[in-house]
């Protein structure tokens, strides 16, 4: 299971950021060729990202590239750089319809064939940034077997809704809709960026909310938030002890060929075992929660 708690945005035009972002150990790093790159640097950023992707520095970290939309003059060239460079995942911004995902899928497959990369090896992630995207979230999430996750992007979404960021009420429906779409499609789901870098308390409050809602993690623009986020997602000692007992009971039942898993005289369902395994994965990745 791949953990997707943190996706760190790295401007594709910044050689310094591309050379150092791996030290912060995010679960995913997202090299951005879209909003973070000015029009006159699009060509150079594409080359920087193409070469950075091929460095061993990012081994063990999911390498995502946010391309420009395919209906811009940059999108298809970005895709060439990302796929030929070896990106694990392409993040499509401003995804409003499943047709956009299918168009991306076809373009990705053409490039994979052209450059000799295994067809199907490039994953896709759709960013939902509008009311249309939220309404179509399930169709988008199910548009391609390559989709491993969808992400809600808050800024453009609240603009489209003619409102602004506040206490989270403005995002409540979108969060729930996008998250339900992801879960129904059995893929991961990322929450929005928290942009007030000095408000640690507000960040942790938001992380607590999105963790309880069920998000896998958040998109981030500041590496300082990674450790806070990972710690918030780390299990407590009590949660880990319980998860170990559940997994042990499941393994025992499997060895004995029993169809029913029991612990302390109570039956345990499959999803409880799956959740226990996720808890152990999180503990292995970042240890126990530091209070």
């Amino acid at each position: 299971m791949r953990l997707r708690r943190s996706m760190l945005f790295v401007p594709g035009s910044s050689a310094a950021s591309l050379s150092t972002a791996f030290v912060f150990k995010p679960d995913s790093v997202m090299f951005d060729l879209e909003d973070a790159v000015s029009l006159r640097e699009k060509d150079a950023a594409r080359l920087l990202v193409f070469h950075a992707l091929q460095q061993p520095l990012y081994d063990g970290i999911e390498r995502v590239v946010r391309i420009n939309p395919l209906d811009t003059p940059f999108g298809h060239d970005d895709l060439q750089a990302a796929i030929r460079g070896g990106a694990d995942t392409i993040r499509l911004p401003k995804t409003d319809t499943p047709e956009q995902v299918r168009e991306l899928e076809a373009a990705v497959e053409r490039i994979e064939r052209d450059c000799g990369r295994e067809v199907g090896s490039t994953h896709l992630m759709a960013a939902i940034e509008s009311a249309s995207g939220v309404v179509n979230a399930l169709a988008i999430a199910q548009a391609s077997p390559r989709i491993t996750g969808i992400a809600l992007a808050g800024f453009d979404y609240v603009m489209d809704m003619q409102t602004q960021r506040g206490d989270g009420t403005e995002l409540f429906y979108a969060r729930c809709a996008v998250l339900h779409a992801a879960r129904a499609a059995k893929i991961d789901c990322y929450d929005v960026v928290f942009s007030d870098l000095d408000d640690e308390e507000g960040f942790l409050k938001e992380v607590d909310l999105i963790k309880r809602l069920g998000f896998n993690g958040k998109s981030l623009i500041n590496p300082r938030q990674i450790e806070l986020l990972h710690n918030a997602y780390a299990p407590t000692q009590e949660e880990m002890d319980y998860a170990r007992r559940v997994v042990a009971a499941a393994e025992k039942a499997e060895k004995q060929g029993l169809g029913v898993i029991a612990m302390g005289g109570k039956m345990i369902d499959g999803p409880v075992v799956d959740n226990a395994r996720r808890v152990l994965d999180r503990a292995a990745a970042s240890g126990l929660r530091k209070e």
């Binding site: 050689a15 310094a16 050379s19 950075a52 060239d77």
Partner: protein
């Protein structure tokens, strides 16, 4: 690749490098300034020459101010400078290894 105009690429920020490329009819001249020239000068020059060779650049002048760029950054910046100098907007990805 034929260089048609002067072009710039990169920045003077740490971990980057700044390149000025100028077309001429004279054989290729590469000038490198770097705080780590003593340690990595040969390596930087070898990378630059390899990239230029792949792109078929045999004439012109490159002035490079290195600020501790990784090999991958050097490759990207030289390629960007050459593409801009050649006025190329369509990349031959096979030539950009």
């Amino acid at each position: 690749m034929l260089l048609k105009q002067e072009a710039l690429a990169g920045t003077l920020e740490s971990s980057d490098l700044f390149i000025r490329i100028t077309p001429s009819d004279d054989p290729l001249e590469i000038v490198i300034e770097s705080e780590v020239l003593h340690q990595f000068g040969k390596q930087i020059r070898a990378t630059v020459e390899e990239v230029l060779d792949h792109l078929g650049v045999t004439t012109g002048t490159l002035i490079i101010q290195d600020k501790g760029a990784l090999d991958c950054t050097i490759r990207a910046r030289v390629q960007a400078a050459v593409m801009r100098a050649a006025g190329e907007t369509t990349l031959d990805w096979e030539a950009l290894k």
